[in-house]
């Protein structure tokens, strides 16, 4: 720690300088994390003052970030998604290339791809990567003598046993519309296993959701409804309450992103380790886990001179030993790290260990948003229609194929 902070101090100029950092959102976990980092950094670099600012999450945040970049008024460091959302910021024109930084050699190749372009690496990883799939209650599984399913049919039969025991088999939480997408988005590693060039074909307007293998996510969503395997308040349940129901064993499964384990730490700390993870079961019986890459810290081109040096030092600090300790203690470890300097702590939530098994056996694949820029804006609404019986899986997938045309044309992709 002393070594790395000494190194950091040497690169920052002696003159006092103030930089501003835009946190990755405005929820308590993200604000607390950014503030803790800033405080530790200022302690190690007394000549630098770091001001933390927060922003809305979701699409409001996307538009705020684009507006600030376009008007050259972006904070000196900002934390934001990697993958297709980063690509929409035109990183080559807007952001400072950090591929020459010492930490850049230590990031995983997947992260390098997700936080950069052919011309540079623009972001340093912030927090861990996370997986999409099924979060399940281990105590319910033990009580009912269930085994982690590999095929979709095994999953359905597990669900029927859970239902017979009087518990909710699958939590569906359309009160927060984005949660409707998980059976489709988290199935993508299974799609890319069957058709390794699916994403490339999809981007070139040659593969469609309306056809297998991608259709599976839609039919699975419809099947949960048609077999009535979800909670009866599915139309209004919020994701926070769904997590509570999962943690307390009122329900067995929740298709989700493992990053939300941080919320369980807040709401049900005693039950965190009752929750496990498995990949979305596939028809083939060899399911792969879908991986979401870590968020990243970026520096806009409008930051120059002394401020740029201080900003680069701050970004490097995030993955220093102190930075890693803060990441581990702030409760955001939801999967393996994307950089070799940070290690998953021994006391990480139980579901992280489940994820690491997939990583160890190389049964993982990146989510679609890291391999294609196309994501239609209405997927969550369409899946609510499919998952509430308003339209069939086939119709929903067809609507979504129409929906992405807008996105592809707005991006000016060839072939649309």
């Amino acid at each position: 720690m002393t070594l790395s902070s000494a190194h950091v101090t040497a690169t920052v100029a002696a003159n006092p300088v103030t930089i501003s950092v835009l946190a990755g959102g405005n929820d308590p976990a993200k604000t607390k994390f950014a503030t803790a980092l800033a405080t530790a950094f200022m302690k190690a670099n007394p000549s630098v003052t770091v001001k933390v600012e927060t922003r809305p999450g979701g699409t409001e945040g996307d538009n705020l970030i684009k507006t600030r970049l376009a008007t050259r008024s972006m904070n000196d460091v900002f934390i934001y998604n990697s993958g297709s959302l980063l690509q929409a910021l035109q990183p080559d024109n807007q952001l400072v290339d950090q591929s020459g930084q010492p930490w850049a050699k230590r990031v995983t190749p997947e992260f390098r791809q997700a936080a950069g372009t052919a011309r540079g690496l623009y972001g340093a990883p912030v927090s861990s990567s996370f997986y999409g799939g099924i979060m399940y209650n281990k105590k319910v599984y033990a009580k009912l003598g269930l085994r982690v399913p590999k095929t979709w049919n095994e999953f359905i039969s597990n669900n029927q046993k859970v239902k017979a025991a009087g518990l909710t088999p699958v939590l569906v939480s359309y009160g927060d519309t984005w949660t409707s997408q998980l059976l489709v988005l988290a199935d993508f590693a299974n799609v890319s296993r069957q058709a390794p060039d699916w994403a490339a074909k999809y981007t070139a307007n040659q593969a469609k959701y309306v056809n297998p293998p991608a259709l599976a996510g839609f039919t699975h969503t419809a099947e949960i409804y048609s077999k009535q395997l979800m909670n009866k308040d599915y139309a209004s349940l919020t994701f926070v309450n769904a997590l509570k129901a999962l943690a307390t064993g009122q329900a067995a499964h929740y298709p989700m992103l493992t990053v939300v384990i941080g919320n369980v730490m807040q709401s049900n700390p005693a039950q965190v380790n009752d929750i496990g993870y498995f990949a979305v079961p596939s028809d083939s019986g060899t399911p792969r886990a879908t991986v979401w890459e870590a968020d990243a810290a970026y520096i806009p081109k409008s930051t120059t001179g002394e401020k740029l040096k201080a900003a680069e030092a701050f970004v490097a600090f995030i993955n220093s030993r102190t930075g890693c300790d803060i990441q581990n203690s702030s409760g955001t470890v939801a999967g393996p790290y994307s950089i070799s300097t940070c290690k998953v702590p021994a006391n990480a939530p139980a579901l992280v260990k489940d994820e690491l098994k997939y990583q160890a056996s190389k049964q993982t694949g990146l989510a679609l948003e890291y391999v294609s820029p196309i994501k239609g804006p209405n997927l969550e609404k369409i899946l609510i229609q499919v998952g509430s019986g308003i339209s069939t899986a086939q119709v929903g997938a067809g609507l979504y194929d129409q929906d992405v045309v807008q996105q592809a044309q707005q991006l000016g992709l060839p072939g649309w």
Partner: protein
């Protein structure tokens, strides 16, 4: 009824005679500040939005693509349903506001006990923030934890999913909109009714007109000005309606309560800035095409009366 109550001696509305044009005593350049504000905050954004609707616009740069956005906008699979929803929503909300507003205005201009209090009650929702109202009703009408369905459950009545049932969502939002907006309509009607000279009612009563006849033959025709205002304001409001829908259902479940404005907003959210600007131009055109002839028609008939 025969005892004469103090009748408002309102002078009959002045005939629309205009005094010969007198030149303002103020010099013309007094208008310059307002003109600058108008140009900077209205004219420039309006005309630049017409330009940006013809571009593929990423906030960082824009490429001119002609009418591509409009073609794309009209190909949107949700456009047709959202258009129908917009018309249903505008018709239901403005129709109800006219009828309810008129009835409430009749009640509140008549000698009823606690008139001042009732007027305040009717007008109060207008003062609330729309988003606040949305959040409030979302929690009141929650199908499982809301107080309304809890009350219905006690009475053994069905407990519908107000905002979550695809068949009900749009009408529920319209209901909330009516609750919030009827106060304005009532206020305008009250102003119109109070302005009717009391002699007309007095004369009608002497001739033996029933209260219903007075309403039908005196109040309704003479409050026509107010009716026209309410129709036009509430229809424009209904066609452009967005905030209450966004706060309660977000256009859902699925797309069952999506209106034009929410489709446009979702395109903006998704980062399709040129496309959503094109949508706004379409909405602007739709409101103009519907409202200008309607306003002309309503106001012309008014002169004939």
């Amino acid at each position: 009824m025969t005892t004469s109550k103090p009748v408002h001696r309102v002078k009959p509305a002045a005939p629309t005679q205009r005094s010969p044009r007198t030149w303002s005593t103020y010099p013309l350049w007094f208008f310059v500040p307002v003109l600058v504000l108008f140009v900077v905050f209205f004219a420039v954004p309006t005309f630049s939005s017409f330009y940006f609707s013809l571009t593929r616009w990423s906030l960082f740069d824009s490429t001119f693509i002609g009418f591509g956005n409009f073609v794309q906008f009209f190909k949107n699979p949700q456009l047709y349903t959202s258009f129908i929803h917009t018309l249903i929503y505008a018709a239901v909300t403005s129709g109800s506001k006219i009828v309810l507003g008129f009835l409430l205005a009749l009640l509140l201009t008549s000698p009823v006990i606690g008139k001042g209090y009732l007027r305040a009650v009717v007008f109060f929702p207008v003062l609330l923030s729309t988003i606040g109202v949305g959040i409030l009703f979302k929690s009141l009408l929650d199908p499982f934890h809301g107080i309304v369905n809890a009350a219905l459950g006690v009475l053994h009545l069905p407990q519908p999913g107000w905002f979550t049932d695809p068949a009900l969502a749009l009408l529920t939002v319209a209901g909330v909109d009516i609750w919030k907006g009827v106060g304005i309509a009532t206020l305008i009607f009250m102003a119109g009714i109070v302005a009717i000279p009391g002699e007309y009612f007095e004369a009608a009563r002497i001739d033996g007109a029933t209260p219903a006849q007075q309403v039908r033959l005196i109040t309704m025709p003479l409050a026509r000005n107010a009716t026209v205002t309410v129709i036009i304001l509430s229809l424009i409001g209904g066609l452009r309606s967005f905030d209450i829908i966004w706060a309660t259902t977000g256009g859902g479940p699925g797309f069952t309560s999506d209106v034009l404005a929410s489709v446009i907003y979702k395109q903006y959210q998704a980062g399709f800035y040129g496309l959503s600007t094109a949508g706004n131009v379409v909405l602007f055109t739709l409101v103009t095409v519907l409202m200008v002839p309607l306003s002309y028609l309503l106001n012309r008939k008014q002169v004939e009366v």
